[in-house]
Amino acid sequence: MTALTAVAARLPARRYLLGAVLAAWVLGAVLLSGRDTLALGGAELTPLHGRVNEVWDTVDDNRNSNPFFLYFVNYIRLVLDESVTFVQALLSQPSFGRPVPVLGWLGVVAVAGAVTYLFGNLRAALLTVAGFVSFGLLGLWQESMDTLALTLTAVAYSLAVGVPLGIWAGLSDRFLRLVTPVLDFMQTMPTFVYLAPLTLFFLIGPASATIATMIYAIPPAIRITAYGIREVSPVAVEAGTSLGATPRQILRRVRLPLAKRTIVVGVNQTIMAALAMATIAALIDAPGLGKTVLKALQTLDIGSAFNAGLAIVIMAVVLDRATTAAGQRVAGHARRRIEIAALLGAAGVAVYLAYTYVWAAVFPPEADLGPYVRQAADSASVWVQDSLTGFTDALKNAVTYGLLNPLESLLAGSPWWLVALAGVAVAALLGGTRAAAVTVLGMAALVGLGLWQDSMVTLAATLVATALVLALGVVVGVWIGRSDRADAVLRPVLDAGQTMPAFVYLVPILGLFGPTRFTAIIAAVVFAAPVAVKLVAEGIRGVPATTVEAARSAGSSPWQVITKVQLPMARGAVALAANQGLIYVLSMVVVGGLVGAGALGYDVVAGFSQHQLRGKGLAAGLAIVVLGIVLDRVTRAAQARSGSTKEDVWRVER
């Protein structure tokens, strides 16, 4: 809402109209409260949902007879399932007639350490070894290896698809123009939304999980590879051409080697995205740590959730450091042969031991410190809840009663036609006719999907969360943008926040606030705030130093410098932060459904677990997408209209 008012503030003529619309809306809402709200109970279905269920059942019945499934979908499923199973057989599951995986824990630790050392450096290798050992110590060896297996499989396929496409997009302007909107769409789409349709085709299990992970992990692979290829110095390419190199030789000997470092950054991003999604895919029964967290969340078992969350964090840190070290190494020189041989020999011995002896294959149960961690987390949570109740309750109540409830009754508690009318009017005033047209279509879709009221409840929560994200983004972003020290301290925290899989946030927040709508909002804020903060900070830093200096020399106070110079000049970045904040918040709607948010998030989650709610879950997923598209379009149009951003600003973060 802040974003909207900020925009409105610069459109004096339209401001009054907007005020009038809002006033009429509020008045109408008060008078007509509770009428025509299109409410639909948690277990109620519309005919549409029923029909989707029927279609779904039909698909299930014909899965093994319809040629499309028989010769296409089922093959993909088979290949992916087998791939995951194969990697699991290496890392985590009993295999090939043995009660243990091929690589026991010692083997995995040795191989991971050796590989990290060869491609990275000693520090990263030591960190990797310590991290892997800690999975065992937390009592989560097998779960961790399941997650790793799914992540690695998805990464392998993502790179196999993404890097060649990225190279193509790097070489061909036309192909780049073609894929960019597709990638934009893939990345704006809230992550959980495509889980349900995937299970329709690929069933619940590793195949769907792999594909979901790939959808999430391929875009960064393509984008960053393309960028790396494009970024190669044109002089080097020209020099190659002038010596008579063929396009193929240029690619192999000039572009790829020079882009290697950037491509490794892409690999890093792909791995991090894959890990995040691999844990989330627990919702469709993907094996591993995500499932442990999910189960613990559903039973409000803070200790177990924390324990598994910790393992996910450790894995994220290890994978991130290891690939970053590999990226730094790329430019360096090759390791000596003897070093390589010694290292491979040692790893080989460890693998042999793990293959032969039980102590090296199965992580020793005596060393399981998981129970202590769980207990400690539980008591910490209890203590925090007890001693901070005053504060947390105050915060919770302030937001719930001050923002959430009024907005919710305005959106969800008044007649749908009033809300739709007001919404379209607001969109038209802020973003013009096209934004209004998109809004009309979106509203119609929401009504058609039979989920109007749930959508409005979710929208209210989304708007509140976005407002909080933006407030946090501006305050912290300005601080970081102005102070190098704050930047040095906070940036690593933000980076970490962005690399952490979304599940992990839920645990401490749930511990603090218990399962409520507010918890879901806070989780979304934590997830989305780092992006917003970074964007605002970039914007503030982008203000020319001389302009700031001029303002200061004219006698402005720091507050005046911020409000009169830096923020106005960075308004493009603030707008982008609002837009991105919205999209990030929306992608957490389903996660919110796990911790008490209700509405669309709950519908989606329930759809995963209850047979007769599948159709409704699918519709809820679509409704989230619709909300996303409408909000994205309206905020962009509003911003473009007020003339503060050029189109390319929007590309920064994508």
Partner: protein, 336 residues
């Protein structure tokens, strides 16, 4: 030197922009064309011939179209119109494959910003052209080491480009071009990114190499002093057009227009002009038994002889008396 040119260019045009062919031959100036059509005429109707063994310098201010011109010669930039004949072969007719052959064996280019590959050692950078055309490892390393020796970089084979100074990096660029043993070397402002001292050193290096390996060179520069120092002949460009072609002393002694005159006005003429430019017919009764000098003697080098002689110096070409020079002519030229 034979008179058969190694490279002959006629009516060359390069116009950037949509429907560029339409504007070939247009009498509009570059600015007018840009305003009316949005196209940029980078090279307009340029023609010249480069003789074997010659250093041919193309000189012009920034934006005059030099880089575009030199890239058109090997079709790194596709010309819009015109004729390019290299050693009797029409380059514009060459297909992809033939063009690659030409680039691999007969022409090589040195770039202003070096264009080295940072991930390869110096030796591998120099051997790059040979690798591209498929030479074996042994042979290309042998040849690369040989060329590195020639450009004075022996001992740096295993360094990486970023470990070398700018001047040394350009020596690598030069070695890479020389390694393929081309018939024609193209230089696009190779020394403008270097500081003045190194630049002079590199110019002398090119002169030395030219003497030692005798390659034909087309050398692009925006620096008049460099042009006059290196060039056997100089082509001056302005706004894509050829203004004048000639030997350094022709350019300085007989500028084609005010633009060139202005350009060369700061050049110490005695360093460029030859006796041919100051000699006069002997006056009746003048003694003709003074010392002899050739007509292509640079004035600066002749000053001593002329000033110390007590009678007119005779300018003689193969026993023909072309004219005489006395202190008066020398002093007048220097004073101008």
């Amino acid at each position: 030197m034979t008179d058969d040119p190694l490279l002959r260019v006629r009516g060359l045009w390069k116009i950037f922009g949509p429907k560029a062919e339409r504007w070939v031959g247009s009498p509009l100036s570059r600015r007018e064309l840009k305003e009316q059509t949005g196209c940029v005429a980078a090279v307009r109707d340029v023609g010249f011939a480069v003789r074997p063994g010659e250093v041919f310098v193309v000189m012009g201010l920034s934006g005059s179209g030099k880089s575009t011109l030199v890239r058109c010669l090997t079709r790194l930039i596709e010309p819009t119109a015109g004729e390019i004949v290299f050693d009797g072969e029409d380059v514009r007719r060459a297909d992809e494959k033939r063009l690659r052959e030409l680039r691999r064996h007969r022409l090589a280019m040195v770039f202003q910003h070096f264009g080295l590959l940072p991930h390869r050692r110096v030796l591998d950078n120099v051997a790059f052209g040979l690798e591209i055309r498929g030479s074996g490892k042994q042979e290309r390393y042998r040849r690369a080491a040989e060329v590195l020796e020639l450009v004075g970089l022996a001992g740096f084979e295993n360094s990486y480009p970023d470990q070398l100074s700018g001047g040394m990096q350009q020596r690598v660029g030069l070695a890479r071009a020389l390694a393929v043993d081309p018939d024609l070397l193209l230089f696009d402002e190779p020394f403008s990114a270097l500081d003045p001292l190194i630049r002079r050193e590199m110019q002398n290096e090119v002169i030395r190499l030219h003497r030692e390996v005798g390659k034909t060179m087309v050398f692009i520069t925006h620096d008049l002093a460099e042009a006059l120092k290196l060039g056997d002949r100089v082509l001056i460009m302005r706004d894509g057009e050829l203004v004048q072609t000639g030997t350094p002393d022709e350019v300085v002694g007989a500028p084609a227009d005010d633009y060139v005159r202005d350009f060369v006005s700061d050049v110490p003429r005695s360093h460029v002009l030859t006796l041919r430019w100051v000699m006069r017919d002997p006056l009746p009764g003048e003694p003709l038994d003074g010392p002899e000098l050739g007509p292509d003697e640079i004035i600066r080098n002749a000053v001593r002889t002329v000033l110390s002689a007590d009678r007119p110096v005779r300018v003689v070409d193969k026993d023909d008396l072309l004219g005489v020079v006395t202190s008066a002519e020398i002093l007048e030229m220097i004073a101008r």
